[in-house]
């Protein structure tokens, strides 16, 4: 049998999943992008238009929705990060029961978002267990479910995101060579200095990747804000669903999807900037 050139072999091997993603991921996104400008749109006349973007930015509810989507992306991510960083460091220590804890903390990874929302309802909704426990000792719990600041959404999203971030951050902290930390300690750095000046910068690619993925999850979330979030504003994801399936306004849906994707891409570019400047600063491959 004649050997094919390596490039052709690679192309053939990449074809199944590459083609699949091109067909069921790339093409729909391209159509949505074109559709947001009225091109090849369902139910449109096919001419170029900025009408859908004017609609998106001209309507108060959608403008607020865009801001609210960004809020639901940033705040739960920051909360999870603040919990995950110490948790990842703690889990890396030696202590009795380490193996067990290392398995148990990951449980929320497999708990569906809807179940997380249900749990928040049973605990924090009016008449929930938290209120029942706190009222007798004189603490009046503020409204947490369907409240203006979306605290319920933040709790549910962060609860699910913490194990995910901890896993990735723990992985990148664990990949740092122990010699580097020991060298810093020998040169007089306290454990805390070594942590902030050596471990955190070296683990930054992992930390930013975890940040990025959680951010995007929060921004596109549909079920949790729908169940736990305030009546107003609604995040763009919910507006997308309503406009697509209840109002059949696909051009506007496409414009909203394009805006959300645009924010994702901007955050992704920021991620690449961070990791690239790190690669230059420390030289060589940084994981």
């Amino acid at each position: 049998m004649r050997r094919l050139p390596q490039g052709v072999v690679a192309a053939l091997l990449v074809l199944p999943s590459g083609g699949y993603l091109a067909l069921f991921f790339g093409l729909p996104l391209l159509l949505a992008f074109l559709g947001s400008f009225g091109l090849y749109a369902r139910g449109g006349d096919g001419g170029f238009t900025l009408r859908h973007y004017a609609d998106l930015f001209g309507t108060q509810a959608y403008r607020d929705g865009l801001v609210f989507s960004t809020y639901l992306a940033i705040v739960p991510t920051l909360v999870s990060l603040a919990i995950s960083l110490p948790l990842a460091v703690g889990l890396a220590q030696t202590f009795p029961g380490r193996k067990l804890f290392n398995a148990l903390y990951k449980v929320p990874l497999v708990v569906p978002g809807i179940v997380a929302a249900f749990i928040v309802m049973t605990l924090f909704d009016r008449g929930g267990l938290a209120a029942r426990l706190l009222t007798p000792i004189g603490i009046d719990l503020p409204k947490i479910v369907r409240d203006d600041w979306a605290v319920g959404v933040i709790i549910a999203t962060a609860w699910k995101a913490v194990p995910f971030m901890t896993l990735i951050i723990g992985g990148s902290l664990g990949a740092i060579q122990k010699d580097i930390i020991l060298a810093a300690r020998t040169l007089g750095a306290t454990p805390l200095t070594a942590f902030w000046r050596i471990q955190i910068p070296l683990a930054l690619p992992g930390i930013t990747a975890a940040f990025l993925l959680t951010f995007i999850g929060g921004m596109g979330a549909f079920a949790v804000p729908n169940l736990l979030g305030p009546v107003y504003p609604l995040p763009l994801s919910v507006h997308m669903y309503v406009n697509a399936f209840e109002r059949n306004n696909w051009g506007l849906v496409a414009a909203m999807g394009t805006m959300l994707s645009l924010i994702s891409v901007l955050v992704l570019l920021a991620y690449y900037r961070t990791t690239r400047s790190l690669r230059t600063a420390y030289g060589g491959e940084v994981r």
């Binding site: 992985g171 990747a209 079920a223 992704l268």
Partner: protein, 280 residues
Amino acid sequence: MTARSGLHPSDGRWITVGLGASLLIALGLPLIVALLWSFMDPATGWFAPDILPPSYALDHWEWAARNTDITQALLLSVGIGLAVTALTALLALPTAYALAKLPFAMKRAVELFILAPLIVPGIIVAVGIGTIFFRLDLAFSMPGVILVQTVGTLPFMIRVLAATIEAIPNDLINAARSLGAGPAAVARHILIPLAWPGFVAGGLLTFISSFEEFEKTFIIGSPFVQTLPVILWGYLGGRVMVFPTAAVVTFILLVPMLIVFFLAERVLRDDVMAAGMGKL
């Protein structure tokens, strides 16, 4: 370890106590409360200010066992999960091999494109595919749901398989090739057996993410494809809140997932899992 952290050895016990308490509050308590709701006695109810239900009953579990909607949803979720896992593994293997072992032009671009579905929120993918599926008559169908879920599971499977295949020595593959094995024989006798842990771990996690997937399934499949999360959504998002029912469905959904997850935990090393997700 202790030298690095600068903690005194006996401090290890404090970590155990601290982590144990946090896990109990963040994980144990919510699950216990959900469990109590599932055993609530409809005759007495469970109202404030009662911390514990006044009495317990199996009514809601019996209702679920008799309810064909729920048993069907369970079977459907398992079926879709298996189909998504098989399709994902089949599509992922060749690409994972190419990314792990072959040098080729534009490799970085291919890597980025394969990761792209992780960067775009699922609802955008689902609504976008929806417009195409309407034309192809795949909307509101089980094949449509399988196809849309695979978009989300493929990137992770490729990453995990590529990380596993990367660890297979090139010598083994070259030796087999020079002894006359064709690509298919190499795949069957070397690649697949040695990458098996990656298949098992990636497969179990693919199954989990299919089993718990809601947003894409709901948009593409609802109201005709009712998986367990879609049913649970109905119980929570409706006008009447049905906590006990939702609690029962929660455990029907959660128990299989936890079993599969702890199986995956045993095969999958943390660093492989982190490599699958944490490097873009």
